[in-house]
Every structure is written in structure tokens, then in C-alpha cells.
């Protein structure tokens, strides 16, 4: 490419003439790019970890840049490609493209794995390498407003799980009273809309076949899949979800549930407290909000009604291009201790991939955490969200169809099956 070289030379002349080299003079400043800036408890946790790290490594500092999630991903996608980016950053396990392209440091021999739950480690293991500190873990939960539920004349059974007929009746009753049954929105996230469908599919076909379905080894035209979809469709057609579902953002959907206009239930990850337990003037729930937790309804003749999704959420990884690999790993290890795990559970009010004694949680929201534990007492977990298991076009299709279009009521069961099988 002669021309390319000529042009490149010309461009270099121009670029170099204006470029002033800014050498990385500071030898011991770790850069950290992370989400969670607007979630008080998690932010406090990270800042606590930073302080602990800085105390243990005098002279070294951590510079934290707080991003919102989409901006963070956009910034990382370009910065990492450019061979730049922060030393440590927030990632989730669905971002295998980082690993495929060698952008993450293999932590398998570096991190203090003894204090990490094996299933959480497994989530970050790809081939021979393990790449992330699975800090956050969460389950898909069905939160509800106990007061509203009572007013509608329903009470959850002892096992916290309605059967599918009662649940449909509940939806109908709420809808008849012009109360949105389930708050949910997909305005800025590619996964919450899919909760409604994926939990039904998981229960209906069981964890093993569910995994096959996600990996493209089981057809969506399977009768069990169609049966589950048909039930979900009946919920959707009854008006289970907000009219503004398609544009409702994650943060907005929280407020939709507990402040305005209010809904009976809220299908959300167990990271719910990270927003809801913020002070009310920062978008948190009212102090006296009657929060309850129940299980996603049991489907008739389903393979595994105790099955539910557990996912590794926000994790921290190390940039393969970092100049401070050891320091970066040391920072992760600062978080990978049972004490920090306990702090996480107590303050964030959610699960973690760090081994922690969950029985001794205390603090103002201890009651919430006890209820969460009780609901999940005999649960069987499927680890991973569909979007974490799927890749490429199938993931894009899943996001558009199962996360958006189907719950929005745009597609029939048959269309869903056809479209999903088309990309298998």
C-alpha cells in the first residue's frame, strides 16, 4: 500500500507537529473506571476498598472515574481497542469479547481464589483462564407491595410462590383496577424485559434443557417452550407490564414501582436495594414502603419450579495492557476477603461471589436480607443470564425479541418461535 504510506507520512507530519507527548509520569496511580456512581451503597463499598488499598500500599493511589453503564461500556470498547484504558475496570461476564481479544489479564494464578465461591469463579472461567473478580451476584426476584396485594385480595402462600392460575388472576385483578401489575422497563438495559420470559422457560424445561435452549441446542419450537411462552403471552396480553415498558429506564422502573404511579409487583434483580435503599430524594423508596418478596409463579407440570436465575453481576477485571498488573491484582485482592464480602452483603443488601457468612448480617435492612434468604431457601440456581450465555446475532435477536418486542406485546408466540429459531 504505497499510497497508504504516503498518506500516513503526511498525516504523521501534521499529527506530530501538533502532538505533545504526555508521558505517564505517575508511577503508582491505578486508574479505575466503574459503574455504580449513582448507587450509594456500592459506591461507598468501592471507596472503602480504595481507602483500604491505599492504606496497605502507602504512596500508591487509586483514581476512580465513575461512569453510567452505557457510557462506561462505550468508553471501554474504544479505549481497550486502542491499547489504552484504565488499569482496573468494571465488567460483566457477558463481555467475552474482551477475553476473545486478549484484553483482560488472566487472574487464575494471581487472585486469592480461596475466598471466592466456586460457581462465581466458574462464571469468569473461559478456557484455561479466569478473568474477573465476581464481586456482585444476584438473583431474579419478584418484589411486591404488600399493601396493594392485600387490597387486591391476594396473599402469597407459605412457599412464597403463586401457581400460574392465581398469578394470572392477580394480574387481571390489578389491571381491572387500573394498577400496573408488574413494573418493568427496557429503556436502557438489554436484559430486564427478558426476566418475565426466561424465568418461565427455566422452570418449564429445567436447568439442563434451558442451557441447551440458550446455547442453540434446543429448538424454540419445542412444545414445552411454546407452552411457557403461551403462558407468558397470556400475562402480557392481560396488561401485566407498563404501557411505557419500551422506554422505561432501569432507574425509572424502580421509581415506577415504589413511588409513581406505583405497581403491585416489580420483577428485578436482587440488586434492587442498591437503588431503592438510596435516600428518597435521590430516587430511593419511601421509608415506610411495604416491600415484600415472592417467587416467580410455579408453572403447571413444570420440570423445575424451584429453579431460578442467579447471575454474576458487576465484577472487576484487570486491563491486559496495564503497566501495574501486580498492583491492580493487589487492589482486587483487597476486595476478595470474607470481611469485605460481609461488608458488601450488609451494605449493598445483595449477594456476592465472595465467600461470606450470610447468616450474620446486621444493620438497618437486615430484615430485608432475611426475607431474601427465606424466599431463596430451597431455590436451585441456573447460573447466568441468557445474554451472558448467548453471543453475536443470537444475543442481538434475543435482546430485541425476548427483552423488548415480545413483552411489549408486539409479537405472537409463533413469531417469537420462528424468529428465534431463524437465528439458531
Amino acid at each position: 500500500m504505497r499510497l497508504r504510506h504516503v498518506l500516513r507520512t503526511l498525516a504523521t507530519v501534521l499529527a506530530v507537529s501538533t502532538y505533545m507527548a504526555i508521558a505517564p509520569a505517575h508511577a503508582a496511580t491505578l486508574s479505575l473506571w466503574t459503574f455504580w456512581g449513582d448507587q450509594g451503597a456500592k459506591r461507598d463499598f468501592i471507596e472503602h476498598a480504595v481507602k483500604a488499598f491505599e492504606a496497605a500500599h502507602p504512596g500508591d493511589t487509586v483514581q476512580v472515574s465513575w461512569y453510567d453503564k452505557n457510557s462506561l461500556y462505550a468508553a471501554l470498547k474504544t479505549a481497550l481497542r486502542a491499547g489504552q484504558g484504565p488499569d482496573v475496570f468494571y465488567a460483566e461476564v457477558d463481555q467475552v469479547e474482551y477475553i476473545d481479544n486478549g484484553l483482560l489479564l488472566d487472574l487464575s494464578n494471581r487472585l486469592n481464589w480461596g475466598d471466592i465461591e466456586p460457581w462465581a469463579k466458574q462464571a469468569w472461567t473461559f478456557g484455561k483462564g479466569t478473568y474477573g473478580l465476581p464481586l456482585e451476584a444476584w438473583t431474579v426476584e419478584l418484589y411486591y407491595n404488600t399493601k396493594l396485594l392485600h387490597e387486591l385480595g391476594f396473599n402469597p402462600p407459605a412457599n412464597h410462590q403463586f401457581d400460574q392460575k392465581t398469578f394470572l388472576a392477580l394480574i387481571k385483578a390489578a389491571h381491572a383496577k387500573d394498577i400496573t401489575p408488574i413494573a418493568l422497563g427496557v429503556g436502557d438495559r438489554p436484559y430486564p424485559g427478558a426476566f418475565l420470559t426466561e424465568e418461565a422457560l427455566l422452570k418449564e424445561v429445567g436447568a439442563a434443557d434451558y442451557g441447551k435452549l440458550m446455547r442453540g441446542e434446543l429448538k424454540w419450537s419445542d412444545p414445552r417452550v411454546v407452552k411457557a411462552l403461551t403462558y407468558v403471552k397470556s400475562l402480557i396480553d392481560t396488561g401485566a407490564l407498563p404501557k411505557s415498558f419500551s422506554t422505561l429506564k432501569l432507574g425509572e422502573s424502580h421509581a415506577y414501582f415504589y413511588s409513581k404511579p406505583g405497581s403491585v409487583m416489580f420483577l428485578m434483580g436482587s440488586f434492587y436495594p442498591s437503588r431503592a435503599f438510596n435516600p428518597p430524594n435521590q430516587g430511593g423508596q419511601p421509608p415506610d414502603f411495604p416491600l415484600g418478596i415472592m417467587q416467580y409463579p410455579a408453572l403447571d407440570n413444570a420440570a423445575c419450579n424451584e429453579c431460578k436465575t442467579m447471575a454474576v453481576g458487576g465484577s472487576y477485571v484487570v486491563n491486559a495492557a496495564t503497566k501495574h498488573a501486580d498492583l491492580a491484582v493487589a487492589f482486587l485482592n483487597t476486595m476478595a476477603t470474607p470481611a469485605m464480602g460481609k461488608l458488601w452483603v450488609e451494605t449493598v443488601m445483595g449477594q456476592t461471589g465472595i465467600k461470606t457468612d450470610m447468616a450474620h448480617v446486621s444493620g438497618p435492612h437486615a430484615g430485608y436480607f432475611k426475607e431474601l434468604a427465606a424466599v431463596n431457601d430451597d431455590a436451585k440456581y441456573f447460573f447466568g443470564l441468557p445474554s451472558q450465555v448467548m453471543q453475536g446475532k443470537r444475543r442481538d435477536a434475543f435482546t430485541q425479541i425476548i427483552n423488548q418486542a415480545f413483552p411489549a406485546g408486539i409479537l405472537s408466540v409463533q413469531q417469537v418461535v420462528d424468529r428465534m429459531d431463524a437465528v439458531q
Partner: protein, 275 residues
């Protein structure tokens, strides 16, 4: 004129008023929202700002690194506009003033870049800036902005320089000045009306630029205002009142420029389209 009849005239005014409401009310609304708290807004989205919370502007400015984004925008936009003005004026002066083979071809080539879809260059620019270690630097963004606004600048200035009588340059040559000094001491001052127009237009367009800013800058500390607003939106999308305040802060400089230079700005933005 045929609109003399009172009825027709009345209808016309009503129609115009309706359109004006359509055009202007979103801004009025956001302005009102920017002075109210989110709690007030949720209670009544269309209420009046009573009492107005002017303190929100300080909160938005200090609480969300808005000052950083704002100063980044100022630095990037002003540098880019300064460079593109000088470089563009030089090229326009040359294309308008000297006859040589390829003059028109070159002009048309630069001019035709106006219609290039940016996606044709964005990916490669990303790679190129990495190659030159200019990715995620304000200098890199400035250089890209200069090349982005070069065609429109050359276009507006060339048509102006073309109307400057060549006798003026000949007189300066006879007065003993070299071509460079003539450009500096005659062309630039004489073309000041057109140059100020391009400065205003380029400032507004770059102030609002989004695509290149989001691709070519990744560090939070180097981002410009449009990206900053978006971050605001992502982090605090519940806090409608605060987002509205953030929007107003972004709008104010543009509105200020508009208020001061409205005629010139309209001239500049409409340059070439009238004929």
C-alpha cells in the same frame, strides 16, 4: 396584499401562534423544569416554578463534573475553531484569488466532503488517532474537528473572498507587500464579516458535536459537554429536575451566542442555501 380580510388574517395569526407554541414550548418547559425539584415535577409536571430553585444550577455545575465537561468543550471548541478559521481562510483566499489549473477541481473536492456521511471516516479516524497516539486526547479531537468543519468554512469564505475586488490585492502588491502580508493585513480584515460568521457557525456546530466526541474520547476527564449531558441522563435519569438543569446549562452558551449574533448567525447558517 391578499391577506387584508380580517377573517383570513385572524386565522393566519392563530396558525402562526400554534406553530410558534409547537416550536418554542419544549424550551420553555425545560426552562421551567430546570427551576423545579424532581419531587415537584412528579407531583405536577406542568406546574410553575414557584418558588424557583436557582440553587439547582450550582448543584448541577458542581455535583456532576459539569465544570470539567464544560471547560473541555470550551478548550476543544475554541482551539478547533481558531485553527479551522485560519487554515480555512488561507485555503479560501488562495482558491478565490489565484487562478491555476485544478483550482475548481480542488474546491469541488473539498466542498463535496460536506455531503460525506461521517460513518465513512469515523472507524478509520479511530484507528488513525490510535496510530498517532492521539486517541483519547483533546488534541486529537481538535484536529478531527478542524477537518470536519474545514469544508463549510472554505465554502463560506471562498464565496466571500471571491467578491472582494482583486484591485485591492493589486494595490497592496504595488504598495510593496508580499502575498502573506497581504493575506494577513488585507484579506483577513476585509473578510471579517464572513470570518466572524464562520466562527459563530463552527462554534455552535462543534459545541453540539456528539458522534466523534463519543468515539474518540474515552476518559471521563476529557469528555465534552454533549457526552457529559448523556452521562447525567444515565446516572440520574430519575432526577428529571436535575437533568433539566443540566440541559439548560448546555443550552445557555448557544442561546447567548444567538442573542448576541442572531442576524449574523442566521446569515451564516443560511449561507449558500438562498439563491
Amino acid at each position: 396584499m391578499g391577506f387584508g380580510r380580517p377573517l383570513g388574517r385572524g386565522l393566519l395569526i392563530v396558525a402562526l401562534a400554534l406553530y410558534t407554541a409547537f416550536a418554542a414550548s419544549p424550551f420553555v418547559w425545560v426552562f421551567v423544569l430546570s427551576l423545579r425539584t424532581t419531587t415537584e415535577i412528579y407531583a405536577d409536571p406542568y406546574g410553575l416554578p414557584l418558588p424557583p430553585h436557582f440553587g439547582k444550577f450550582a448543584d448541577a455545575w458542581l455535583g456532576s463534573s459539569y465544570d470539567v465537561y464544560f471547560m473541555n468543550s470550551v478548550a476543544v471548541v475554541f482551539s478547533a475553531v481558531a485553527i479551522v478559521t485560519v487554515v480555512g481562510a488561507m485555503a479560501a483566499h488562495c482558491l478565490a484569488r489565484y487562478q491555476f489549473r485544478g483550482n475548481r477541481a480542488l474546491y469541488f473536492l473539498i466542498f463535496s466532503t460536506l455531503i460525506f456521511p461521517p460513518q465513512v471516516t469515523i472507524i478509520a479516524l479511530f484507528q488513525i488517532l490510535i496510530e498517532y497516539q492521539l486517541f483519547d486526547t483533546r488534541i486529537g479531537l481538535i484536529l478531527v474537528y478542524v477537518s470536519l468543519q474545514l469544508p463549510i468554512t472554505v465554502y463560506i469564505l471562498e464565496s466571500f473572498f471571491r467578491r472582494v475586488p482583486s484591485d485591492l490585492f493589486d494595490a497592496a502588491r504595488i504598495d510593496g507587500y508580499s502575498e502573506v502580508v497581504i493575506f494577513w493585513r488585507i484579506s483577513l480584515p476585509v473578510a471579517w464579516p464572513a470570518i466572524s460568521t464562520t466562527i459563530i457557525v463552527n462554534t455552535i456546530l462543534l459545541w453540539n458535536e456528539f458522534l466523534f466526541a463519543i468515539v474518540l474520547i474515552s476518559s471521563d476527564s476529557k469528555r465534552t459537554l454533549p457526552i457529559g449531558i448523556l452521562k447525567f441522563m444515565g446516572d440520574q435519569s430519575n432526577d428529571v429536575g436535575m437533568v433539566a438543569t443540566g440541559l439548560m446549562i448546555a443550552i445557555v452558551p448557544v442561546v447567548a451566542i444567538y442573542v448576541f449574533f442572531s442576524e449574523k448567525l442566521i446569515q451564516g447558517m443560511t449561507a449558500g442555501a438562498v439563491k
